[in-house]
Amino acid sequence: MIPARLAHAAVRVAAALGLTAAALGVTAAPAAAAPQPMGRCTTTSGVVLAVDFSDWGGPLFRSCGTAPTTGYELLNQGGWRTTGTGHDGPAFICRIGYSGYKNGKQYPTPGEDDCVLTPPASAYWSYWHADPGTNDWQYSQLGAMLYKPKPGSVDLWIFGGTNIEGTEGRPTVTPDQLRAHNTRPQGGGTRPSSTAKAPPLPPDVDTGPAPERRATTPAGSGSPKPEPKEPKPSKSPTPSHTAGPTDSPSAQAAPSPKTKVVDAAPAGEAKHDPGSIVPVAAGVSLVALIGAAAAFVARRRRRTE
């Protein structure tokens, strides 16, 4: 009787666990976004992500992601990783790191900003968009988790300060220096080495659909209409001025007065160390020890009074 009941309970628990795992799996499944080599981004498909590490002596990295995605997902794939603040959670981008740069070290470092409260307006990652076809930056009106980049647009993260009018602290690079100028994807053979988010698209999509269709089909699946309105053929008539070969990770793109633009290939995740439980055990036992001492003192006081 009892073993039967136990077995029943075990089955039920296992089922519940399985359901939880399934739920976890479902929530953990990424949206239809994937890191791509830089050459896969074209004028009308894919989104170029650019992050400026020049404050720490680094280059300006740019990489490519497929279109129906949020700014947050774009910044958290292919080796990119962000940290939020303790107060506002992961939605407030406080640190950015790329596993191909300094072993995935995230900037600003904990010594520069503890990322507990909102960073000061003089030193934070500001978020800029350039829609397809336009050549000026627009300060993002939405957070990274809410903004959905349009296919063919450029997302730029620069560190520093801005003022309310948006006249100070604007990016020094232009969108044209960063955006993809090829009309069709290049270098489709190289699959990214990233295992974190394998691209859901088959690797041979480059042969089939025209850029227009690629831009519109994903947009129909729920995201707000990112219809590119610019005249496409007139915009990119010269495929010769392409973003360079995708196989080399450090291709010099358009020259900029200060910052060097480097293509960041999709990379694996930087290793995460969950730490050890020993400090926690030590801390808890220390707290218990002090608590016991307090209880002892309280008892002695009560006895003497």
């Binding site: 947050y72 959670g89 000061p120 003022n163 808890v284 002090i290």
Partner: protein, 388 residues
Amino acid sequence: MTAVARTTVEPAAAPSAPRPDRGGRRLPRALHPVAWWVWALALATAVSRTNNPLLLFLVLAVLGYVITARRTEAPWARGFAYYLYLALTVVAIRVVFRAVFATGITPRDHFLFSLPHVPTPDWYAGIRIGGPVSLEALLSSATDGLRLACMLCCVGAANTLANPKRALRVLPGALYELGVAVTVAISVAPQLVQSVQRVARARKLRAGRAQGMRALRGIVVPVLEDALERSLRLAAAMDSRGYGRAGSATRRSRRATGALMLLGMCGLCTGAYGLLDATAPAFLGIPAMTVGAVLCVAGLRLGGRRVTRTTYRPDPWRLPEWAVAGSGVLSAVLLFTDLGYDPAQLNPTFYPLTWPGLPLVPTAVILLAGTAGFLAPPPGPVRKADAS
């Protein structure tokens, strides 16, 4: 001064001679209230630096130990439990707000449960209500709330350990009337409790068995009468001791005092603004703060000149006071210097889930603040004059 203090304390300690070894051979006496306040505020400052749950719990444990070991039996010394309830409420509110006003969940987070999502229009897309809640969000909001709760408990510890009436004595002379008013105000509640207890005892002796509203009438009227009588007596006593006299201030000196204080306060406000806003011009920061502080001190000095008074049985400031205040200040200073530890360990992140570390120096620093439990002299037996 010290001789006076000794002679007043010793007879009080004599009846409780069989107290064996509470703090060695030291005479029981109350620590200077300002020493407790400095210790507690310094500890609160140290707490504001860290977000590490282990260190925060350690601070709570240290507070609990010091309070158990060194609190008196006075009415205000029994209130720490209420501060703990308040702290729990703070943590709960923080967690609930974080869950309701969702801050987004990432695919890497551990999904816990989902609240019903309230859709907001596009032009209001910055705020999301409801939605999935992750373990990381709950943990980080709980530690965030715990930090505020810890600071609240530090202030609560100061209120529990220090005698508020004696603390008001150190107010500068210019704020003398304010101090008197606050002293009278904070003695009202304990006096009311005493009145109620006395009236209830008297009713019991007379076998009054009325319940409900009728009993209330039987209690309220005598208590109010008692309170009125007491205040009349207090007013007469204060009047005969020279409280409330106009002093020798001329109209001009009063105006000068007012102007100095007002300008000084403006300077302090501007300075605080300048320090907090990184884009403000440099002269608005420390210089404005300094000028404001100097003006305030001058105003207080000028205003205090018209109040000349002597102190009856002043609180001594001796070695234990230096030690307690010093241990608190030293811990705050050490936690802000980043000496010998990685500042990242003070603010561990829960994205992705990581066990918090226990950095050695900050732990030692918090334990150092806990030595106040040994450094302070044991509390004296409660005196009727303080308890009422």
